[in-house]
């Protein structure tokens, strides 16, 4: 059996390793178009602050790892898939044929349609190459404008602040991380940033960017303000890398469309990670989540199915954790709540603490937290096991911080479970 994987990010690498484990005699080829060894985009913020060097971002630290596992890594770009002859064309004109194919090509940052967006000094923060460019320009005291305060924007925000630049954040939405946190939490994060000396403009957009004096830029806002910038970072959203699939016969929407085996409309072709429109645990709908844990889960489950070990995908719980200059936030599943559901919110504005839980009947379906660093994962456990909370739902409505107790009371040998009471 010859397995070919397009894309050498976390999803591709985990798929390759899983295939090696469950299909030991197969041949495995992984094709990635970036020049570095497979690395993790998630580690880029820590590269920006010198916590790690480039090699610290590598997914596997041992250079011989792929060789030892007989995973053949090709550095090239796949330009076309011929699904009839089961053959890929690479940019250097080589051909690679496959028995089973995994598309794990990730996503790319989308540039907003702004005049001057192509000028030098405007970068995304998506690749190691971007990281190097940002490090060059984001020197202490430099004027840096960050466009977009979504999840990725907020992650970079912390790194930039730590580089001691003069940072201004521009977000179109009415709050920070609008797709991860509610109004209360989003505004607390904004207050926190302001308190830490970062200028944050929400409900504001960049209209145009022009060349300023020397290497600098002039950034025009829709409120008439004009800001000087040595560096503009664009973090205004991403889109799946599906362009090269055009004409291949593969069905796509926001990403590659798959079933609950992560299999596309063409039976020998699977998709995983940011490029895959996979099942969402909470809604049962097929969406692009574009997060690391989902990329890892997809890679593993797609590989199982490629090797003939039929494995259903229950769907991934959408979840994020974010550190905004020391304020840690997390969100899970249907954090915005469900129709007919019940919810509880506990907020301590002065201490920047917040927790909100969303229930459907006596089951937790979503959650958000600010300032919670202990046992936060149990929120995933409660959601994904659909644990019936029974009387503990009422306890949580009174004190939502007792999530761990709610979990233990319903799973461990205490109380009724131990036959004690």
């Amino acid at each position: 059996m010859k397995h070919v994987i397009i894309g050498a990010g976390p999803s591709g690498v985990i798929a390759a390793e899983t295939l090696r484990k469950v299909d030991p005699t197969s041949s495995i080829i992984m094709i990635g178009d970036e020049p570095e060894p497979p690395y993790s985009r998630m580690a880029l913020p820590y590269y920006l602050i010198n916590k790690i060097d480039e090699s610290g971002t590598y997914l596997r630290k041992d250079a011989a790892h792929y060789g030892n596992k007989e995973i053949d890594v090709i550095r090239d770009r796949v330009s076309k898939i011929d699904t009839k002859s089961k053959c890929l064309s690479l940019k250097n004109n080589d051909k690679v044929d496959y028995d089973k194919l995994l598309i794990a090509t990730g996503s790319h940052p989308v540039s907003p349609p702004i005049e001057g967006i192509g000028l030098p000094g405007i970068h995304s923060c998506w690749t190691l190459e971007d990281g190097r460019n940002i490090v060059n320009r984001a020197q202490p005291g430099a004027n840096v404008i960050l466009m977009g305060a979504g999840f990725i924007g907020c992650i970079i925000l912390e790194a930039l602040a730590l580089r001691k630049v003069n940072l201004t954040v521009i977000e179109m939405g009415d709050r920070m991380v609008p797709r991860m946190m509610d109004q209360t939490a989003g505004n607390l994060i904004k207050d926190w940033c302001k308190k830490k000396g970062v200028a944050v403009h929400t409900s504001t957009r960049v209209d145009a960017i022009e060349k300023g004096s020397g290497d600098s830029l002039k950034v025009k806002l829709d409120n008439g303000e004009v800001l000087d910038a040595d560096l503009v970072i664009s973090a205004t959203g991403v889109a799946a890398n599906i362009q090269f699939l055009e004409g291949s016969g593969l069905e796509t929407d926001f990403g590659v469309l798959v079933n609950d085996r992560l299999q596309s409309n063409i039976p020998d072709i699977y998709a995983a990670g940011d490029v895959c429109q996979g099942k969402d645990f909470s809604t049962g709908e097929y969406t692009v989540q574009a997060i690391q844990p989902t990329a890892a889960d997809h890679g593993r489950i797609a590989a199982m199915n490629m090797s003939g070990k039929d494995t259903a995908h229950q769907g991934c719980v959408n979840m994020n954790v974010l550190d905004t200059m020391g304020l840690i936030s997390s969100s899970y599943g249907l954090w915005m709540g469900v129709d007919g559901g019940e919810s509880v919110h506990l907020c301590d504005n002065d201490r920047y603490r917040y927790i909100s839980l969303q229930f459907e009947d006596d089951i937790l379906v979503g959650a958000q937290a600010l300032g919670l660093t202990q046992h936060v994962g149990v929120l995933r456990g409660l959601i994904q096991t659909k644990l019936k909370l029974g009387k503990w739902k009422n306890h949580l409505l009174k004190d939502p911080t007792r999530i761990m107790e709610a979990y233990l009371a319903n799973t461990q040998a205490i109380g009724h479970n131990a036959g004690v009471i």
Binding site: A43, I328, A418
Partner: protein, 159 residues
Amino acid sequence: MLRSLQIEPEKCTGCLQCEMACSYQAEGVFNPSKSRIKIFSFHEEGRFVPYTCTQCTEAWCMHACPVEAIVLNEATGAKEVIDDICVGCKVCTIACPFGTVNYNQDAGTVYKCDLCGGDPECAKACPTQAITYVDSDHGGLERMRAHAAQNLPQDSAQT
């Protein structure tokens, strides 16, 4: 034969000796808030439940790590955090469905139970044998794990 921590909450008196011993072993201080094992109190029932990582085979934390900072110790079966490699992204803390990987804001890294390399201090410190270190095929332990993991997707490739 791998060994595991077996926890029998009905024997726990809530004395916190395990938390003290753990924090001292792991961080050099007697400070329950730094402990990898935690005692949860159920005042209504007058009960206490010690809880820590079960070193589950699915190893959600290890698979979610983007930089290979959580590794399997083949000798003990523990999933161990390598501090020098951990970047502090916290994805493991939200991925662990048991809530047993935590973030240390001062250190900028995450921490979890590592079975003290095969000689867990909590078990030695427990005066009532509510925490014992036993052979992993012990039946009660498997039941405890199975119960805790009910409904989580079982996927044989996750070890």
